[in-house]
């Protein structure tokens, strides 16, 4: 096994081992406090006052719920696509036969991620995909595939060569070595990358409203147009709560995966 090339030796994010067990209980509580707080605040508003009707329409619970659904859909689909693309690609690039190709692809990925998501989303609307959820999902994938790809490559490269030598030496095929030894050992690093992608996507998906893909960005945008900073802030808080919740969910999954493999 050749030593990993020096350019990329560390994952973008490292799994949080110690802080996690505490966060596992604190996060749901914080999320609940934010959501309840926003709901109470909205209920306390008097939208029948003159000039506040648009605000009332934007903060309608039914609309918020459907926008939340759109948001979750954008995040969910784009993250699944990222995982489906990045993990197999990362596995291929981490093979010894891929040589330095892995570094080249990761560099290109770094360039793609450096593109501002806002610009990418707007540009996608002028692609054949046009306005709507399809373009938004492609833009989200471009914005968030790199952490998953990098962490897959780095996590697999970081598996000690002696484990692989022992596995091959006892008669495991290359595929069995990957499945039984390399992937289980790389899972914590890979899942950390997926968590970053999820949280990035929750934030970036607020921009999808600019190309008519809906999501929680819609009420934020309209409140900003009306100059209602407090209402925009309330919806932004909901987005934050969603990001925290998604990250927490991923942490729970990570713990379950690790529990079954270690």
């Amino acid at each position: 096994m050749t030593a990993p090339p020096p350019t990329i030796t560390r994952p973008i994010v490292t799994p949080l081992r110690k802080r996690r067990s505490l966060a596992l209980f604190v996060t749901p509580a914080v999320v609940a406090v934010i959501v309840i707080g926003v709901v109470l605040w909205i209920n306390a508003q008097d939208f029948t006052a003159p000039g506040r009707a648009p605000e009332g329409r934007a903060l309608d619970f039914g609309d918020l719920l459907s926008q939340f659904g759109q948001h979750a859909y954008l995040v969910g689909v784009s993250t699944v696509v990222v995982v489906i693309i990045s993990i197999p690609l990362g596995i291929l690039l981490s093979r010894k036969s891929a040589g330095r190709l892995g570094d080249a692809v990761l560099s290109i990925g770094g360039f793609l991620q450096a593109l501002p998501p806002f610009g990418v989303i707007i540009l996608m609307a002028f692609s054949p995909l046009g306005f709507g959820a399809g373009s938004a999902i492609v833009a989200l994938v471009i914005a968030s595939f790199l952490p998953v790809l990098t962490n897959t490559v780095v996590g697999l490269r970081a598996v000690e060569p002696s484990y692989i030598e022992a596995a091959r030496g006892m008669g495991m095929s290359a595929g069995m070595t990957l499945r039984l030894v390399e992937l289980p050992l790389a899972v914590p690093v890979m899942v950390a990358g997926i968590r970053v992608a999820l949280v990035l996507n929750v934030g970036t998906a607020t921009l999808a409203t600019y190309i008519g893909a809906g999501g929680l960005g819609t009420p934020i945008l309209s409140m900003l147009k009306l100059g209602r900073a407090d209402a925009a802030f309330a919806v932004a808080a909901l987005v934050t709560a969603l990001a925290l919740f998604v990250d927490w969910l991923a942490a729970v999954v990570e713990r379950l995966v690790r529990g079954s493999s270690a």
């Binding site: 000690e160 030598e165 022992a166 091959r168 030496g169 006892m170 095929s173 030894v181 289980p184 270690a262």
Partner: protein, 369 residues
């Protein structure tokens, strides 16, 4: 020269059929001009331990890895148990060969039991049979199955990990074991104990073993035969440890074996192979001809010398087990400055005495022979 003792030669030439045979094996790595291993030609007899030793870069590890095809030879053939290794699927081949490496390589996400049971599982054994085998092997390497089976590698010391490594190599009861410096990264005291345990295990399982080391003491201690590699991947000498220490084939081997050869050889000579002086057990300080006189204590154990021929004052009593080596005998005599040592049988009864002057005379006679 002496009429009191006689040193017999070890006879390992009566070896079994060859289990592994290398026929004109060479390996040249891509992009390199000089071969890592050149024209290797030797046989490993069934049930014997062959130590591969030599300076860094001599090709000893390459040779080992060609035997289970982790490295493919450039030319030549390797015959394992009658079959050319290249004629079978490499993965299938390796499941029939135990493999133990210096870094141990226990899988950190699997328990000790799962690690040991991996190869049997790949071979399709039933769960119950695997579980029984795991416990059996843990016993064999001196670890209590109930205590260790469900632990994880990181909870074990380095020495314990390598015991498990050896157990994992033995799991499917392969006829051949390949070991790449398995005790190389372990502290000297633990290493010594692991070597003793390893020999004890080998007495029970009698595998054909190829063992790479860079430690001559280890090679002499464990090997039935030693293959000394020179730089450039050539086999310089392949013989019993005794023969290599006594008659190095060339200047390179002599240099490699070094100045300590005579002392190293002492550890190859079992006391059991020497003829011992007769010891007279007596209650009184009466000279008994030319024999040393020993007094017993109330429990019937040797207590002290009453009279030793050639001395005026009786020397301190030191003992060595009958199963020990001449090295042990010399060690205790030097340590207590005694001119002789009492040899005890397994039951603790005196078997005879070994005298310093007679022994040195014998060794000199043997060295000249």
């Amino acid at each position: 020269m002496s009429e009191t003792s006689e040193i017999t030669t070890s006879d390992d030439t009566a070896a079994g059929r060859p289990m592994i045979a290398l026929e004109g094996v060479s390996k040249t790595y891509p992009g390199q001009e000089r071969p890592a291993v050149e024209e290797l030609e030797f046989e490993v007899p069934e049930g014997k331990i062959v130590m591969l030793i030599g300076p860094s870069g001599c090709g000893k590890t390459t040779t080992l890895k060609m035997m289970n095809r982790l490295i493919e030879p450039t030319t030549g053939r390797i015959i394992l148990d009658g079959d050319d290794v290249t004629s079978v699927n490499a993965d299938q081949l390796r499941r029939r060969i135990g493999y133990v490496i210096q870094q141990v390589g226990l899988f950190p996400h699997m328990s000790i039991g799962e690690n040991i049971g991996m190869v049997p599982k790949m071979l399709g054994w039933e769960r119950q049979r695997i579980a029984t085998r795991v416990d059996e092997l843990l016993h064999l390497v001196g670890m209590e199955p109930g205590e260790y089976r469900d632990r994880y590698p990181r909870q074990l010391s380095g020495g314990q990990q390598q015991r498990v490594g050896v157990a994992r190599g033995l799991a499917a009861d392969p006829p051949v074991m390949l070991m790449d410096e398995p005790f190389g990264a372990i502290d000297p005291i633990t290493r010594d104990r692991l070597q003793d345990e390893f020999l004890e295990v080998q007495r029970q399982v009698a595998k054909t073993i190829c063992f790479v080391t860079h430690d001559l003491t280890e090679a002499v201690k464990l090997g039935d035969r030693i293959a000394i590699f020179g730089t450039g991947g050539r086999l310089r000498q392949y013989d019993t440890p005794d023969e290599i220490l006594t008659n190095p084939a060339d200047e390179f081997v002599a240099q490699f074996v070094g100045g300590g050869a005579a002392v190293r050889r002492l550890s190859l000579l079992d006391i059991a192979r020497l003829k011992l002086d007769e010891v007279v057990v007596s209650a009184t300080d009466s000279p008994a001809g030319n024999h040393p006189v020993l007094a017993l204590d109330d429990a019937g154990k040797p207590d002290r010398w009453l009279h030793v021929p050639g001395t005026t004052e009786a020397p301190p009593l030191v003992t060595v087990p009958f199963t020990g080596t001449v090295y042990d005998a010399v060690d205790v005599m030097l340590d207590s400055r005694a001119p002789l040592v009492l040899v005890l049988g397994d039951d603790g009864a005196p078997r005879g005495a070994l005298r310093w002057d007679a022994m040195v005379g014998d060794l000199r006679a043997r060295g000249n022979a």
